[in-house]
Symmetry: C2
Subunit: 372 residues, 2 copies
Amino acid sequence: MSGIVATYRIQCAPDDVDRIARWIAIEQTVEVPEALVDEAIIGKVRTIEPAPGRPSENSANAFDIAMEFREDLAAGHLPQLVNLVYGNVSLRHGVRLIGLELPDSLLARFAGPRFGVAGLRELIDVRDRPLLATVLKPRGLSATEFARIAGEFAEGGGDLVKDDHNLVGPGPEEFEARVQRCQEAVTAANVRNGRRCLYVPFLHAPAEELDRQAAFCVGQGVRGVMVAPMVLGLDTVRALGRKHGLFLLGHPTLTGGLVGPEHGIARGLLYGTLARLAGIDISVFVNAGGRFAWTPAQCRDIADHLRAPLGALKAAWPCPAGGMTFDHLEPMIREFGPDTVLLVGGALLTAEPTVREGTRKYQAEITRVLDR
Amino acid sequence: MSGIVATYRIQCAPDDVDRIARWIAIEQTVEVPEALVDEAIIGKVRTIEPAPGRPSENSANAFDIAMEFREDLAAGHLPQLVNLVYGNVSLRHGVRLIGLELPDSLLARFAGPRFGVAGLRELIDVRDRPLLATVLKPRGLSATEFARIAGEFAEGGGDLVKDDHNLVGPGPEEFEARVQRCQEAVTAANVRNGRRCLYVPFLHAPAEELDRQAAFCVGQGVRGVMVAPMVLGLDTVRALGRKHGLFLLGHPTLTGGLVGPEHGIARGLLYGTLARLAGIDISVFVNAGGRFAWTPAQCRDIADHLRAPLGALKAAWPCPAGGMTFDHLEPMIREFGPDTVLLVGGALLTAEPTVREGTRKYQAEITRVLDR
């Protein structure tokens, strides 16, 4: 294969599938009436297959169309790759992007995750086990209170403590105060116990302020930030991470609208492949069994795409989340393996008697599960 | 109303609606277990109503939940407003954002469209009629060939000629050559016939290059650019337009995944309200009756939101598109009125005997419809 192969699952009657395949081939490349079509440029339909297991589930039929696009049509960058493989076709309901194969020559244009699995292990100095992460919340606490939680989590043996994605504003002062206090608290705990827990602030600001806030974080000793790729823009966060040498933890806010059952982009591609192209080192998604009704297979698919070969791009960390508790640790480890960030928010913040003791208990459980 | 009121249409059983309303109120603000909830911060459920006309259409039921959030939770900026009203709730299928009311004090933080309806009329010097726009395509033509089309369209009396959204790459040289040649051709035609047709290039590049390319456009005399708000980021395009004093034409590429029937964001909010907050002056959407199966009511709703009062923000132009032809002009004008950009791509490019003559014929048809 020399080109980009995008696979679309189409909801349509059998008689329509060839016409729709031809439409996609044209719409995504030249978007002109047939009379003007240049066959050398438009997509090439490689295969059309009935979608597995569908006819009995649905009165309509579903087909998988594998379409090859010329590599140069992606212009070697992420905004155009997205535009090419899921631009105008997104506007016709019942067209879902379920597969994406990219040639190595195109992948070589992407730096991918700066740290990835191995790099982050080195940074935190944790070799073989999953990482334990928590979330600073709820909104309404002061910077001092957040710093106390962050410090206790670090003291208790936690690995990553991130801002909640609701912790934004009211102004940049709150952000700077929180970053400074939390980073100080985590650093102090690290010095005391010889560990390297990391504090990860949420960078979420007007476009004009992102650069300054990222530089502020770096100045405070922060090594990575949480970002919302589909709100700020996939390529905006990629460039931000590169410029400031930060690792990126991607939050899925807003993205649920893009992963519908018969439309949108398959989760593995959005939270896995595209996330890695955007330089995401840790990709947060909602785990099966939590507050959201995602299935184990969907979550596995995300983890698979974060780890699958993708040119020379580093593997990234899956970070299942969303209502995870102590009891989810063992199934999460069994499901996703050691190269996983185990994100426990509310359950850890309410741990008795303290966050510090709770964190110790959670880390002990991780060790217990791994030793079995 | 002092806060932000977001209305969600929820697919659920009647017994579940109160629980889901409470869940949204917490999830979008503090995202913690009930024990930690601060009632002063979380969303307030204002009303819960059965969705109009639903019970007979669907075995599940649907409800409209109006939720008020404290204004300060939006932090006065677009990334956080999006995160607040459709962040984590997007991850639970069957939650659609269908209404958004914003207090004037929040709206005052947004500059909105720089030109809007009145400003663009002044720029183009066309007072009362709809604007006629076309698209430079197909990909594969040279800068000289695109410039010839642009020049002919301007000579024939066209108002706006934009790059196709597939015209990206392979490198910045092609972009610069096209911008220079097309702008020259349009300017030359304007000088000849005393008009002010505008050329609108597609700004779509890696984040690091956007600024330089925008500055290049300004240097060439370009007054506005086309952008893909959901690919580059809503706030990225807002900041780009402000910095360079450009008007923005928003293209809907990728956004189809966000406007599902039972999930995502209502079209009026996405292509209307949020687009204006992002400074979009002209909002492209796919019109009913073209290549995509959107309904007249959905399209009307977009136009309504582009024109509705929204603090002191200017009204923006609806730009129905997607397979429009000569025969669509009259129904488009009847449907959307004079403050509309009529975008005709392929049909105009294949007009006989020339694009110039075709453009004259289209403008004559617009005059004919308005005079009736």
